[in-house]
């Protein structure tokens, strides 16, 4: 039997796999001082994988393989492009941190790329088995990455917590998937969608609930969020940036694929659960973020809250017109969230090189001695808060549009909650900005201008350019959202 390979369609996956092997072998041959070259090989591999994505996008159309279990269409290409870009920026953030800290370098990029491989497969997977394998491929390397600072007990704690919660959530999700398979007799999402339309069984609701609960752990939605702040704080900061953007969006893509392609005909399977998750994430994430004194923990709770905003369109989507604007909103929100969150983490990493601290008070007076950094950081913070003209406002706008398009009482309540949370969120983002601009640097602090490595600067510039360009001219990403939603 010929499985029907389409090598053009899986070229990005093959290129990343080849890069993983190349990095692993090259690391063996480089002298100790040449190990930084593994990062260059890894980055080149990621850039090379972008090429087939562009050619596939130009080619257009939908390519299906393996009875529709692996699909390359605009939806998957948009996310694959996003994951590769996020991986590239994460590597820019990592190179000096990992090099200076004298950590294992080749192995770091092997694990990072394996996680990215999982994300690429996830974007194309339309089958429960592929989705499960892809999700594990995203998660398992990051368990090790979170504990990369082996001699720091906090990093060990981060890795252990993340690992235990991750394994448990996989078990819950797998049990849910097995029930879905038992009830529908298929692992293909398209066939599941046909079956759930007519199937009326209370077990189906529980199956949907368990599957979604597993994903909720991965995207750290309240009440499955408690690992996130500790893991984010303990993990090396570049890894935290990668976890909070790439790995989290990987979870959202899994959720979106399963809900949209699989469960959508039967809204009882996902709508009440997702509504609850979205509302709880919005309220708790934002309220707890207000009380944080550590910037990484604050960004952790902020990412939980941002996850709540991303969940809003899921929770209100139903059969019919609202799906299109919901998909658009989820895609646009995740893309913009990635750029602004990576940017904020880049500044945190750059500043921590000087202050060796992640307390919010360490930002005091930054506007006086490093105005450039303070300006960019304020930009990312206001973008996260949703203040025009930075990209965040457009993300929030599409989210509210999706909620209003749905036009149901539940959707209106959720939109109102989201509006209130946006206002609360503004306070804690603005607090960091106030610290930078209106407070004096602490006594005895080193107030020479901060020199940042080239790679970090590049990462900041890329993120800032996206945040400004999309904020001023939102059609850039709106078009991507339309494409992904099949428009």
């Amino acid at each position: 039997m010929n499985p029907g390979w389409d090598f053009h369609a899986i070229a990005p996956v093959i290129i990343i796999t080849a890069t993983i092997v190349a990095v692993l072998i090259a690391d063996f041959f480089f002298e100790y001082r040449g190990r930084f070259r593994t990062q260059q090989i890894a980055s080149l591999g990621v850039l090379a994988a972008m090429i087939p994505i562009i050619t596939l996008a130009v080619d257009g159309g939908t390519r299906e393989m393996f009875n529709g279990g692996f699909v390359v269409d605009p939806y998957s290409l948009v996310f694959q492009g996003f994951f590769l870009a996020a991986a590239y920026i994460s590597m820019l953030l990592s190179v000096d941190y990992i090099g200076d800290g004298d950590y294992y370098q080749g192995e770091f990029y092997v694990l990072l790329l394996t996680s990215v491989l999982g994300m690429l497969v996830m974007s194309s997977a339309r089958d429960l088995i592929s989705i499960f394998v892809a999700l594990e491929t995203i998660s398992i390397p990051t368990f090790v990455l979170a504990g990369w600072r082996k001699h720091d007990p906090k990093s060990n704690e981060a890795a252990i917590k993340y690992y235990l919660i991750g394994v448990m959530s996989s078990a819950v999700m797998l049990y849910g998937m097995s029930l879905v398979f038992g009830l529908t007799g298929s692992t293909l999402l398209s066939e599941i969608a046909d079956k759930v339309r007519t199937l009326d069984s209370p077990l189906l609701i529980v199956a949907g609930f368990l599957t979604i609960a597993g994903f909720a752990f991965k995207v750290s939605a309240v009440p499955f969020h408690f690992w996130a702040p500790d893991t984010y704080e303990g993990a090396p900061t570049p890894v935290t940036a990668f976890l909070s953007v790439a790995s989290k969006v990987g979870g959202f893509v899994a959720l979106l694929s399963v809900v949209w392609f699989g469960f959508s005909p039967n809204s009882a399977m996902f709508q009440p659960v997702l509504w609850g998750l979205a509302a709880a994430s919005l309220i708790l994430g934002n309220l707890v973020a207000l009380r944080q004194t550590n910037i990484v923990r604050m960004l952790a709770y902020s990412s939980i809250a941002q996850g709540g905003f991303i969940l809003v369109p899921f929770a209100v989507a139903s059969d019919g017109g609202a799906w299109t604007s919901s998909i658009q909103s989820v895609v646009i929100y995740t893309l913009i969230y990635g750029a602004m969150n990576l940017g904020a983490f880049a500044i945190v990493i750059a500043l921590a090189r000087r202050t060796r601290s992640a307390e919010i008070t360490s930002f005091a007076g930054l506007g006086q001695y490093a105005p450039g950094m303070a300006i960019v950081m304020s930009m990312f913070l206001f973008s996260l808060a949703g203040v025009p003209p930075f990209a965040g406002w457009f993300a929030k706008f599409t989210m509210f549009r999706a909620a209003l398009d749905a036009n149901t009482p539940a959707a209106t309540v959720l939109a109102a909650l989201a509006a209130v949370s946006s206002v609360i969120a503004f306070f804690y983002y603005a607090r960091v900005a106030r610290e930078m601009w209106f407070h004096q640097p602490p006594e005895g602090a080193d107030v020479h201008p901060i020199r940042t490595p080239v790679a970090l600067n590049a990462a900041v510039v890329i993120c800032a350019a996206i945040v400004i360009a999309v904020g001023v001219y939102p059609q850039l990403f709106a078009r991507l959202g339309d494409l992904a939603a099949g428009g």
């Binding site: 039997m1 010929n2 499985p3 899986i10 996956v13 796999t17 993983i20 692993l24 393989m65 393996f66 009875n67 279990g69 692996f70 294992y104 192995e107 092997v110 694990l111 394996t114 491989l117 999982g118 497969v121 997977a125 089958d127 088995i129 592929s130 499960f132 394998v133 892809a134 594990e136 491929t137 398992i140 390397p141 368990f143 090790v144 504990g147 990369w148 082996k150 038992g182 009830l183 069984s201 209370p202 077990l203 189906l204 529980v206």
Partner: protein
């Protein structure tokens, strides 16, 4: 069908008792050995489902590799082997309540959904069903429909190996 049902219930009961033993045991080695009972029970269930290949894979991988690895792990690290350290904690009663509740709800729902279903193993449909468990059929689906996840898992195992070396290395 009666014979299969009797075997199923005997195996299921042994698995449940083994599983309770895993969490109740005060000794890590005993817990690992109880786990053998559960895994072997699962393998026997696969044979009842006419899936010999999966059953043997279960025996070779879970009993032959995973459990042995557990025992080696306990032996080579300084994990408490005797019964002197308490493995229980204060949350066992809430945990018991939650487990019984979950077992009740899921059990009731499973009976509601599948209780009246019967597997037909006679005639053409039964013949087709029996083919599904055969190794050849399994190989066909691994190398056609599921070839991408299959290959991705091998890269994942490579990464897991690299990660394990990084964690375990003394430096």
């Amino acid at each position: 069908m009666i014979v299969q049902n009797i075997f199923f219930w005997v195996l299921a009961l042994a698995m449940v008792l083994g599983a309770i033993g895993v969490v109740r045991s005060q000794n890590v080695v005993h817990a690992a050995l109880y786990l053998v009972v559960v895994m072997a029970g699962a393998a026997a269930q696969y044979i009842l489902l006419a899936a010999e290949f999966v059953a043997w894979v279960q025996v070779i991988i879970y009993i032959g590799a995973v459990i042995i690895l557990f025992l080696f792990g306990i032996m080579l690290t300084r994990a408490p082997m005797g019964g002197d350290t308490k493995l229980d904690n204060d949350q066992r009663w809430p945990a018991a309540v939650v487990s019984v509740f979950l077992a009740g709800v899921l059990g009731a729902l499973l009976i509601d959904a599948f209780g009246k279903k019967e597997i037909v193993i006679s005639g053409a449909k039964g013949e087709q069903l029996l083919q599904v468990g055969k190794a050849g059929h399994l190989a066909d689906s691994i190398f056609t429909a599921y070839v991408v996840p299959f290959e991705v898992v091998s890269i994942l195992l490579l990464a897991a190996l690299v990660g394990a070396v990084v964690i375990a290395r003394r430096d």
